[in-house]
C-alpha cells in the first residue's frame, strides 16, 4: 500500500517525509516536479503519475502537495481518499493546515502519521480515536507538560477502537449538554447568456456539533424526507432505520462531524435566488471595452442575500480595468487577470452594480469569448430546497440537552456565462 509520504510546498521543496516501509529516496519526487512543470498550474498536476518503479499519487490542498508513493496495484481512490483524510486530520489538530504549522508541530505530525498507517495500511483514521492516542497541542497543555513532565501521548488503547462505535470515545462529560445541527445547502448552477438556467442542482450537508455526556442515542426526523434523493452518511447512522422509516438514528461522535450529505432530487425545480445582468463588450477597432454588471435578488423567499462576491477570470488580452462599484470594493489583478468584486449585502431597493471600461493590450485582438462570472453568496435561515427538520430526540441518557438547528443556503459552483 502506501510506501512513503512527501509533503511538498508550492515552491517545490520537500519539507516533510515519512516512510512506512523501506526508505524511498526523495529523488522519486523528481518525476513529480517534472509533471508539475508540465502542468503549469497546480490544479492541472495529474493525481496519478507513473514512474519506472513507483507510482505517485498526490492531492493538492492548502497549497501543499501530499504525494504518496506506492509500489503495487491499489485502488487509487483508496490512497487519494486517505490523503484527504490526513489533511482533514491535520486541520482538526492544528486548526489550519499550512506549511509553517506542520513544521512547528513536526513531532505531533509524525506521531499522528505513525498511528494512521501501519505498513502502509490505514490503522486509525477517526479523529476521535487519534485524539485519544495523541492529544492535540494546546497552549495550556504545553505549559502543563513542561511543568509536570507528562506527555501528550495516551498510554491506553482508546476504547473506541474496540467497541462497536469506534467513532465515539467513552467517558465524555460536559456540563452544558448541547447539540447543534447546521443544514447547509449549496446551489450548483450554470446560467447561460440570456439568463436561463442550463443546469441547477442542490447539494446539502448536515454538519453537527454534538457535545453530550455519556452515550446518547439520537434520532432526527425530517418534515419532508422525500426531498432527499441521494444520501451518504457518517458511519454512525443506522442505515436500516433510514431505509425503512426515513429517520436518522445514530450514536453521535463527540465534537464536530458531518452527519449526512445529500442531493436533492432533480425533479424539483431549483429556485435561483439571484440574477446577474451583464453587458460586456469589446470592440474590434479600439482597445477599450465596456463592462457593466448588476446583481439583483430573484426568488429569495423574503430573505436577504449576503456575502455576495463576484469573481471573473478576464481574457488574457485585458491589460487593465477602470471600474466604479455602486457598493463594495473591487480588485483586479493584472497578472492573473482576475477580477473580484466584494459586494456584501444586496439591497433590493438599490441594486449593486459595477461599471467601467476595460483596456486591452495594444495590438491584441478582441477576445472571442466573454469571461464567465462566478458568484458566491449566502442566505441565512433558509434551506432553498425546503428541507425542514421535524424533531430531534435523545434516548439513553437522562439529562435534557440543548438543541439548535440552523439553516443556510450558499452558492456552490454558481456560474454565469456571458
Amino acid at each position: 500500500m502506501i510506501h512513503s509520504l512527501f509533503l511538498i510546498n508550492s515552491s517545490g521543496d520537500i519539507f516533510l517525509e515519512k516512510h512506512w516501509k523501506s526508505v524511498v529516496s526523495r529523488s522519486v519526487c523528481d518525476y513529480f516536479f517534472e509533471a508539475q512543470e508540465r502542468a503549469t498550474e497546480a490544479e492541472n498536476v495529474p493525481p496519478v503519475i507513473p514512474t519506472p518503479h513507483h507510482y505517485l499519487l498526490s492531492v493538492y490542498r492548502h497549497k501543499i502537495f501530499f504525494v504518496a508513493v506506492i509500489q503495487t496495484e491499489v485502488p487509487p481512490l483508496f490512497v487519494i481518499e486517505f490523503l484527504h483524510r490526513v489533511v482533514d486530520t491535520f486541520q482538526d489538530y492544528f486548526g489550519v493546515c499550512s506549511e509553517p504549522v506542520i513544521k512547528d508541530n513536526v513531532v505531533v505530525v509524525y506521531e499522528v502519521l505513525e498511528e494512521m498507517l501501519d505498513n502502509g495500511f490505514p490503522l486509525a483514521t477517526e479523529s476521535n480515536i487519534l485524539k485519544e492516542l495523541i492529544k492535540p497541542p494546546t497552549i495550556l497543555r504545553t505549559v502543563v507538560n513542561t511543568i509536570t513532565g507528562s506527555t501528550n501521548v495516551g498510554d491506553q488503547l482508546p476504547t473506541g477502537q474496540l467497541s462497536v462505535v469506534p467513532w465515539r470515545r467513552t467517558g465524555v462529560k460536559y456540563t452544558n449538554n448541547e447539540a447543534y445541527f447546521d443544514v447547509i445547502e449549496e446551489i450548483d448552477a450554470i446560467i447561460d447568456k440570456s439568463g436561463s438556467t442550463i443546469t441547477a442542482e442542490i447539494q446539502g450537508v448536515i454538519d453537527s456539533c454534538v457535545k453530550l455526556t455519556g452515550m446518547p442515542d439520537l434520532t432526527l426526523s425530517f418534515m419532508n424526507p422525500r426531498l432527499l434523493d441521494d444520501v451518504s452518511f457518517h458511519p454512525c447512522v443506522r442505515f436500516k432505520r433510514w431505509e425503512s422509516e426515513r429517520i436518522l438514528s445514530f450514536i453521535p461522535p463527540d465534537g464536530n462531524f458531518r452527519l449526512l450529505s445529500y442531493h436533492v432530487s432533480a425533479q424539483n425545480l431549483v429556485a435561483i435566488p439571484v440574477y446577474v445582468k451583464h453587458n460586456i463588450s469589446f470592440r474590434d477597432s479600439s482597445s477599450l471595452g465596456r463592462f457593466e454588471i448588476t446583481v439583483g435578488p430573484k426568488q429569495t423567499m423574503g430573505k436577504t442575500i449576503e456575502g455576495v462576491i463576484v469573481t471573473s477570470q478576464m481574457p488574457k488580452g485585458v491589460l487593465n480595468m477602470s471600474l466604479t462599484p455602486s457598493q463594495g470594493t473591487h480588485t483586479f489583478d493584472p497578472v492573473t487577470k482576475m477580477l473580484s468584486w466584494d459586494v456584501g449585502k444586496i439591497n433590493p431597493q438599490k441594486l449593486p452594480s459595477l461599471k467601467g471600461t476595460v483596456s486591452l493590450q495594444a495590438g491584441a485582438s478582441k477576445p472571442d469569448e466573454n469571461p464567465t462570472i462566478n458568484l458566491q453568496f449566502k442566505i441565512q435561515q433558509l434551506a432553498i430546497s425546503g428541507l425542514k427538520v421535524n424533531r430531534l430526540d435523545m434516548y439513553g441518557e437522562k439529562y435534557k440537552p440543548f438543541k439548535g438547528i440552523k439553516y443556510m443556503t450558499k452558492a456552490g459552483k454558481f456560474q454565469v456565462r456571458t
Binding site: 519539507f15 517525509e17 516501509k21 526508505v23 498550474e41 490544479e43 495529474p46 493525481p47 496519478v48 507513473p50 507510482y55 492531492v59 503495487t72 496495484e73 491499489v74 485502488p75 481512490l77 483508496f78 487519494i80 481518499e81 490523503l83 484527504h84 513531532v107 505530525v109 509524525y110 506521531e111 505513525e114 505498513n119 495500511f121 490505514p122 490503522l123 483514521t125 513532565g149 506527555t151 501521548v153 498510554d155 488503547l157 477502537q161 474496540l162 469506534p166 450548483d188 450554470i190 442550463i198 443546469t199 442542482e201 441521494d230 444520501v231 451518504s232 452518511f233 458511519p235 442505515f239 450529505s261 477570470q313 472571442d368 469569448e369 469571461p371 462566478n374 459552483k413 456560474q415 456565462r417
Partner: protein
C-alpha cells in the same frame, strides 16, 4: 542530551532527531545513543525511539539487535496497546536475522485475546512476507487462522495480507465467504475497500455469469475482451434458466448499503463490484452514487470520471439521466474538462445531440485553448457517431476555420479532413476554402491535412490543386517534415492525374526532396520517383502507381481513448494508468461451470446442504468450442446420461456427409455398448437410424436445430431423452450410477482414443479434468440455436473431404446468426440474419445475406418490406420482395444481397411493417466479404510473390501445440473467414485463398507452423485494410485453445 537523566531533556533531544528525520536529514550516527532509550519508561520517548528505530534499523542491523529483547518483553505486557505497538515495531525492523523471532511473535499475536493485537499481527504478516518470502507457507497458515476471526477489526487487515501474500489461494476464502459478506457493513472503511475488491475477484471465479444476451442487446453492451466464442457460449447459457447462486446474491445485497458510504473509495469499490458481477439490470443504482462523488475533490473527480468514461462507452443508459452533471465549468482544471467532454461524447445520441452541440459551442470559445481543441475533436466524433448531425457539425467546423486562434483552426482542419474522408461527397467548396487557408495556417498538422485532402480529391478541384502545388514548391524547404511528406504525396498524385500541368513541378519537388536532410523524406522521394516517373528500369509496379496512390482509403475511426481500458478492473490503478501496474490481479472471466457452491458451507450447515445435488452447474467448458470432433464426442461419451443422444445426433450428422464417418460413429457405439446395457445400445442404434432418415428427408435447418438442442447442454438433451425413454432417465439422476459410469467412461475413453484421431489425445485429457459429470436434468428444453456447436460439426464433415474443393464453394458455412431486430424492439417482429456464403444471385459484387423473420406476436404482421436505406457511398442493397403477411408464431426466410464495397461499414436500412418502421443495421464480419477461390500451390506462391511488401501483413501466434493440428487450424480459419483451402505440400504450412466480393482482389492467407508453439500468420492482399482487419480477427481465434 540523550545521556541526560531527565526525561524532559531526552524528550527534547528525541523531538529534534525526529525533526531531522522528517526533513530527510541523516541522523544515523546517533543510533547507539538512541537505542539505549528504547526501554524508557516515558511513553512518548519510547514512541519516538520506535520511530527512529524503524527508520534506521536496516542500516545498523547489529545495533538494532540490542533492542529486540525489549520488544520481546513488551510482547508479554498486559496492556494491549503496548503489546500491539511492540509487535508493530518488531515487525517493522527489517533485519533478516530476526525472522524466526518475528514468526514466533506473529503466531502468538494471532491468538491474542485482543482483536487490536490480532489486527497488528495481520499487518505484520505482510511485513514479514516482504522481508523473507520463504516464510510464505507458514504465513498462509496464520492467514488461514486469522481469516476465521469473527472480529470486524481484523477482517480488513487479514484480507489485505491475503491479497499480498497469497491472492491465488482462493480456497481459503470459501469457508469465510459468507461471514465476510455479512460482516462487511461493520468493517472499517479501508478494510471494506480491500474486501470488496477481493470478493469481486472471488465472485468472478466462483459464480456463473448473470449477464444474459438480452441485456447485451438492449444497452449495446459487449464485453470487448471476450472473444467471439465466449459470446457464443453466452448464447448457449441463455438457453438454460438462470438462477443466481444465493451466495452471489448475498454479496450483491450486502454491498448495496455501502454505496451510501462517505468514503469515495468504498463507493467506487462497490460500483466496480456491481459493474463486474451483478446482473446488468441491477447495476443501474451505482450511477447515482458515482455522480455524487463528482462533488468531491479534484483528485477524486478525476478518478471517478475516468471510470465513468469507461462505463459510459459500454452502457450509455447508465449515465444518460445525469448528462447535465457532466457539463463543464470554466473553473474546472483542464484534465477534468477533457474527461467530462469524453463522457459527454459517449453519452451523445440522437435525442440529446442538439443540446450537446449547443453546449459544445460555448466550449469551443473557451479561453482554455487546449480544451477548445479537445472540444473540436469531440464534435468530430459526435458527427461520425450520429449520422443525423454530420452535416451540421461539418458546417459548424467550417465556420470555425475563420477563427482567429490558430490552434482552433488547425484542429478543425484535422477533424474536417477526417470527416470528409468518411463521406467524400461533393464537398468541393470546403476543400477550396481550405486550400485558401494554406496561406494563413502555420500549424504543420493542419497544413499536412489540407495537402492530403487536396491530393485525395485532386480530380474534384482540378484548377486549384496544381496551383497549391506551385505554392508549396516555393516554400518546400521551409516546411515541417510532416508537410514535406504530404507535398511529395500531392505531387505524386497530381502527376498521375494531371501530368501535363504538373510534370515540371513534380520533378522540381522530387529534386528538392532528394537532398533533404531528413532520411524519411529522401526515402519517400526515391520511392515516388521510381514509382511514377517512367523509365526503362521501372518494374511492374509503376503500372499500378495510380492504383497505389489513388486507392480508395478507408475512413479513420474516431474512437474513444477509453475504448481499450475496459479490460482492466474498474477502480484499479491499472485502469487509471491504462497499463498493468505491478501486482495487478486479473479479473478472470466468468467460469462456465460454477465450482461447487457447497465449499462455502460452514460445518454446521453441512448436513442440510449435502442433500442438494452438488452441480447445479451450468455445464459448458470454456475451451471446448473450437476443439475438433473427437473431444466433442468424448465429452459426450464422458457422461453416460447423455452420450446416446449426442452420439446419435452426431452420427446423424456424419451420416449426412459420408458413409465413412457414420461407420466410425457406430463403431464408437460399439465400444460404448461394452460398458452399458445392451438394450440401451439398441435403442441408440434405432434412434441413430431414425435421425439419419430424418436428416435425409428434412431440410438442413431443422435437423441442425435438433442437434443443436441436444448439444447445447447435456442436461437438456437428457431431458429430451427422458421423454422418449423413461428407464434411463431415472438412472440419470442417481449420482451413484453416475460415478460408476464415470469410471466406465474413463476406460472407454482410452479405447476411443485409440481409434480416434491421434491428435486429439492430449486435449481430451485436459478436457476430462474440467469436466463436471454431475448435471441435474433441467426440465425446460428450449429449442433455440446454439450455432457454434453445429458449426463445429459441420466444419468437421467437410474437413475430411477438404482436399477436393471446387471453385467458389464455401468450405464451411457457420450457422452463426446475428440479430437484426430484437423482438422487444421490433414490437414482436424478430429478425436474424446470417451469411450463407453463397455467391449472390442478385449481383456478383454482392454478399448474400439470409434474413429470418419471426412473428412472436399473436397477430398477423402484414406487409414486411425494406423501407428507407441509409448507405455509405457506393454501397448497394438488393432488397427482398415484400412479404404480404406473416402468421403469428410463423417464420420466413428471405435472402437479399448487399454490396459492401469491400468495407466493413454498416449497412443501415429500415425494416418496415404495415404500421411501423424499425431501423436496423447489418455489419459484415470481414471474413464474409470474401469468396473462396481454388488454386494450386504453385499459383498461390506466384500470386503471393506479387503481393509482398506493403500488401503483406503478418503476425506471430503463440498457443498450445494441440491447436496446430491441420484440422483445428482449418476449422478455425474457415469459421472466421470464407476462404478456400489450397492443398499444401508441406505439413507445417497451411494456405488459404479467397477473393474479395466487390473488387475481386485476391486474399492469400498462410499459416506457417514454427518450432515450439508458435506460428506465423501471413496475409497477402491488395486490400491491405481488409487484410489487417482479418489478421486481427484471426489472431485471437488461432491463439486460443
Amino acid at each position: 542530551m540523550l545521556e541526560s537523566n531527565k526525561d524532559s531533556a531526552k524528550l527534547d533531544a528525541m523531538k529534534r532527531i525526529v525533526g531531522m528525520i522528517a526533513k530527510g536529514k541523516n541522523a544515523s550516527e546517533l543510533f547507539p545513543a538512541v537505542v539505549k532509550n528504547v526501554a524508557s519508561k516515558n511513553i512518548e520517548i519510547k514512541k519516538l525511539v520506535y520511530v527512529y528505530l524503524v527508520r534506521y534499523a536496516e542500516e545498523q542491523q547489529d545495533l538494532a539487535l540490542l533492542s529486540i529483547s525489549t520488544f520481546q518483553r513488551a510482547l508479554k505486557d498486559p496492556n494491549q496497546l503496548i503489546r500491539a505497538s511492540a509487535l508493530r515495531v518488531l515487525s517493522s525492523i527489517r533485519v533478516p536475522i530476526i525472522v524466526p523471532i518475528m514468526m514466533l511473535a506473529i503466531k502468538e499475536a494471532s491468538a491474542d485475546l485482543s482483536p487490536y493485537v490480532r489486527k497488528n499481527a495481520a499487518h505484520a504478516i505482510q511485513k514479514l512476507y516482504s522481508l523473507d518470502p520463504d516464510q510464505k507457507e507458514m504465513l498462509i497458515e496464520v492467514i488461514e487462522k486469522l481469516l476465521k476471526d469473527k472480529s470486524t477489526l481484523v477482517a480488513g487487515s487479514v484480507v489485505m495480507a491475503f491479497e499480498e501474500v497469497c491472492p491465488d489461494r482462493i480456497d481459503l476464502i470459501h469457508k469465510n465467504y459468507r461471514k465476510l459478506c455479512n460482516l462487511l457493513v461493520d468493517v472499517e472503511e479501508w478494510g471494506q475497500v480491500v474486501i470488496i475488491h477481493m470478493l469481486t475477484r472471488y465472485a468472478r471465479t466462483q459464480f456463473v455469469s448473470p449477464w444474459k444476451e438480452d441485456d447485451g442487446l438492449e444497452d449495446n453492451e459487449k464485453n470487448f475482451y471476450e472473444s467471439d466464442d465466449e459470446q457464443k457460449e453466452k448464447t448457449d447459457q441463455k438457453k438454460k434458466p438462470y438462477t443466481m447462486d444465493p451466495d452471489h446474491r448475498l454479496l450483491i445485497r450486502n454491498t448495496k448499503p455501502l454505496l451510501q458510504s462517505r468514503n469515495a473509495a468504498v463507493v467506487m469499490a462497490v460500483a466496480q463490484l456491481y459493474w463486474h458481477i451483478s446482473p446488468k439490470s441491477e447495476a443501474g443504482i451505482i450511477s447515482k452514487s458515482l455522480v455524487r462523488l463528482l462533488r468531491s475533490n479534484r483528485e477524486v473527480q478525476y478518478i471517478v470520471l475516468q471510470n465513468i468514461a469507461t462505463m459510459s462507452i459500454q452502457r450509455k443508459g447508465l449515465f444518460e439521466p445525469y448528462l447535465k452533471s457532466f457539463y463543464v465549468r470554466s473553473t474546472d482544471p483542464t484534465m477534468i474538462k477533457t474527461l467530462k467532454l469524453e463522457i459527454l461524447t459517449n453519452l451523445a445520441n440522437e435525442a440529446n445531440i442538439s443540446t450537446l452541440l449547443r453546449e459544445f459551442q460555448t466550449y469551443v470559445k473557451s479561453q482554455d485553448k487546449q480544451f477548445a481543441a479537445a472540444t473540436i475533436q469531440t464534435i468530430g466524433r459526435c458527427a461520425t457517431n450520429i449520422s443525423e448531425v454530420t452535416d451540421t457539425c461539418l458546417n459548424g467546423l467550417v465556420c470555425l476555420l475563420s477563427n482567429r486562434d490558430e490552434i482552433v483552426v488547425a484542429e478543425s482542419v484535422v477533424v474536417i479532413k477526417k470527416l470528409l474522408q468518411m463521406q467524400p461527397v461533393q464537398h468541393g467548396e470546403i476543400i477550396k476554402h481550405m486550400a485558401k487557408l494554406l496561406d494563413s495556417i502555420t500549424v504543420p498538422v493542419a497544413r499536412a491535412s489540407i495537402l492530403w485532402l487536396i491530393g485525395e480529391n485532386c480530380e474534384r478541384v482540378p484548377v486549384i490543386a496544381p496551383d497549391v502545388l506551385r505554392k508549396m514548391a516555393k516554400s518546400f524547404t521551409n516546411e515541417d517534415d510532416l508537410v514535406k511528406l504530404q507535398i511529395l504525396n500531392l505531387a505524386a498524385k497530381l502527376y498521375l492525374t494531371n501530368s501535363k500541368q504538373t510534370k515540371l513541378l513534380t520533378q522540381y519537388i522530387l529534386n528538392l526532396g532528394k537532398y533533404d536532410q531528413n532520411y524519411d523524406i529522401r526515402d519517400r522521394t526515391r520511392f515516388i520517383r521510381q514509382l511514377i516517373v517512367p523509365n526503362e528500369k521501372s518494374g511492374a509496379l509503376s503500372k499500378y502507381a495510380k492504383k497505389i496512390f489513388l486507392a480508395q482509403k478507408p475512413a479513420p475511426l474516431l474512437e474513444s481513448p477509453f475504448k481499450d481500458r475496459d479490460h482492466f478492473q474498474l477502480g484499479t490503478l491499472s485502469h487509471t494508468l491504462n497499463t498493468k501496474a505491478t501486482g495487478y490481479l486479473e479479473l478472470s472471466n466468468w467460469p462456465e461451470v460454477a465450482p461447487d457452491p457447497s465449499v462455502r458451507d460452514v460445518e454446521v450447515v453441512e448436513l442440510a446442504k449435502e442433500l442438494i445435488p452438488a452441480g447445479k452447474a451450468k455445464k459448458e467448458n470454456p475451451a471446448k468450442k473450437f476443439y475438433s470432433e473427437s473431444e466433442e464426442e468424448e465429452e459426450s461419451s464422458d457422461s453416460s446420461s447423455d452420450s446416446e443422444s449426442e452420439s446419435g445426433s452426431e452420427s446423424g450428422e456424419e451420416g449426412d456427409s459420408s458413409e465413412d464417418s457414420s461407420e466410425d460413429s457406430s463403431s464408437e457405439q460399439d465400444s460404448e455398448s461394452g460398458s452399458e446395457s445392451k438394450g440401451e445400445n439398441k435403442r441408440t442404434a434405432k434412434r441413430n437410424s431414425k435421425i439419419k432418415e430424418e436428416s435425409d428427408s428434412e431440410d438442413g435447418e431443422k435437423e441442425n436445430e435438433k442437434s443443436k438442442t441436444s448439444n447445447s447442454s447435456n442436461a437438456e438433451s437428457s431431458s429430451i431423452e427422458e421423454s422418449s425413454s423413461d428407464s434411463e432417465s431415472e438412472s440419470e439422476s442417481e449420482s451413484e450410477i453416475e460415478s460408476e459410469s464415470r469410471k466406465v467412461t474413463k476406460e472407454r475413453e482410452k479405447k476411443t482414443k485409440q481409434d480416434r484421431n491421434p491428435l486429439a489425445k492430449d486435449i481430451s485429457l485436459l478436457d476430462l479434468d474440467d469436466f463436471n459429470p454431475v448435471s441435474t436434468p433441467v426440465a425446460l428444453p428450449t429449442p433455440a440455436l446454439s450455432p457454434s456447436l453445429i458449426a463445429d460439426l459441420e466444419g468437421l464433415n467437410l474437413s475430411t473431404s477438404s482436399s477436393v474443393i471446387s471453385v467458389s464453394t464455401p468450405v464451411f458455412v457457420p450457422m452463426k446468426t446475428h440479430v437484426l431486430l430484437h423482438r422487444m424492439s421490433g414490437k414482436g417482429l424478430a429478425a436474424h440474419y446470417f451469411f450463407p456464403r453463397q455467391p449472390c444471385i442478385f449481383g456478383d459484387k454482392m454478399v448474400s445475406v439470409q434474413i429470418t423473420l419471426n412473428n412472436t406476436t399473436d397477430q398477423k404482421i402484414a406487409n414486411i418490406h425494406i423501407g428507407e436505406k441509409k448507405l455509405p457511398i457506393g454501397m448497394q442493397i438488393h432488397v427482398f420482395n415484400p412479404i404480404e403477411s406473416l402468421e403469428p408464431e410463423g417464420s420466413i426466410t428471405v435472402s437479399m444481397g448487399i454490396d459492401f464495397c469491400d468495407s466493413t461499414q454498416t449497412a443501415s436500412f429500415q425494416l418496415c411493417t404495415k404500421d411501423d418502421c424499425f431501423n436496423v443495421n447489418i455489419q459484415p464480419p470481414v471474413g464474409e466479404l470474401l469468396l473462396p477461390v481454388a488454386m494450386s500451390e504453385k499459383d498461390f506462391k506466384k500470386e503471393q510473390g506479387m503481393l509482398t511488401g506493403m500488401n503483406e501483413t503478418s503476425t506471430v501466434i503463440i498457443t498450445a501445440p494441440q491447436n496446430f493440428t491441420p484440422s483445428v487450424i482449418l476449422q478455425k480459419v474457415v469459421n472466421v473467414a470464407n476462404v478456400g483451402v489450397v492443398p499444401s505440400g508441406q505439413d507445417n504450412i497451411h494456405r488459404f485463398a479467397a477473393k474479395t466480393v466487390h473488387s475481386g482482389s485476391l486474399m492469400l492467407l498462410t499459416v506457417e507452423l514454427k518450432e515450439g508453439s508458435t506460428a506465423q500468420l501471413i496475409i497477402n492482399t491488395e486490400k491491405t485494410v481488409i487484410g489487417s482487419v482479418l489478421l486481427r480477427e484471426l489472431k485471437p481465434v488461432l491463439s486460443q485453445g
